[in-house]
Symmetry: C2
Subunit: 128 residues, 2 copies
Amino acid sequence: MTISEVSQKYGLSQDTLRYYERIGLIPKVERTKSGIRNYTEESCGWISLVKCMRSAGIPIDTLIEYCALMQQGDDTLPARKELLVGEREKLIMKIEEMQKTLERLNKKIDWLDMTNQQICWEKEKESA
Amino acid sequence: MTISEVSQKYGLSQDTLRYYERIGLIPKVERTKSGIRNYTEESCGWISLVKCMRSAGIPIDTLIEYCALMQQGDDTLPARKELLVGEREKLIMKIEEMQKTLERLNKKIDWLDMTNQQICWEKEKESA
DNA sequence: ATATCACCTGGAGTATACTCCATGTCAACA
DNA sequence: TGTTGACATGGAGTATACTCCAGGTGATAT
C-alpha cells in the first residue's frame, strides 16, 4: 500500500505517517527500490494500534518505548506487559474522571434548562 | 483565600491559577487593597469547574468562551447550553473511544500473558 | 523528451497549555 | 529600620504533537 492509501484508510495525514515512522512510533516501513514506502499488513497493524492508543491520549513517548521493546524480541515480553498494564491503569482512571465530568456537565445542562424556563416564565408574567 | 491556599486545595500551581485568570478562563479574582488576590467561594467554584473540565480534556478556548458568556448575564443562557451540550457530545464520544482502547489493551495484555506462558513452557521443555 | 505527479528528506513553523523567571511591592517581624 | 517572605506583573521558555515547506527524485503520460 502507498502512503496515500494508508493515509486515506486511517485518516492520518501523510506527514503524520512519515512523522510516526521517523520518531520510531512504528517500525521502519518497507520501500520499493526507488525508495517509496510500501506499507505491508504489519505496517498497517502498527498504524491501527498507534491511532487507537493515541486517540485515547496515550503519550507518544510511551508508544515509542513499546515499539522499541517489540523490536527487541521475546525477551521484552514482561517489560511490554508491564508497560501496557501501567497504561491500562492510567486509562481506567482517565475514563473515571471523564465520567465525573460528564455527570457535572449533565447537571449543569439540567440546571441551565430549569433556569431558562424559570426566566421565560417570569418574563411571561411581566409582560402579562 | 490566598492563592497559596487555593493552589493547595485544588492541586493547581499558583502560576496556573494566575494564568487561568489572565486568559479569562475564570473571572477576575477579588483583591485586597494592596493588590493581593482574595479568592471567594465563587472564585473557588470556577477553579473547581475549570479543573474538572480541563481534566476531561475540554479545550481552554471553549472554557474561555463559556466564562465570557457567563459574565454577559442571562441573555446568554441558550448559548451556554448549546456550548455545554456540544461538549457533552464530544465527551461521550471520547469516552467511547477510550473504552475501545481499553478493550484493545486488555486483549493485548491477555495475549502477552499467553505468549509469555507459552514461551516459558517451551523453554522448560527445551531444558528438560 | 518533457511535463506532471506522487513521493522523498530534513528542517522549520504552529498550536496548545502551561511553567519559569526577572524584577518589583507590601506587610510584618527582629 | 532593615530584612524576610509571600505575592504581583509581563514576558520568555518548554513540552507535546503535529504540520508545513523548500528543494529534489523517479515513474508515467503526452
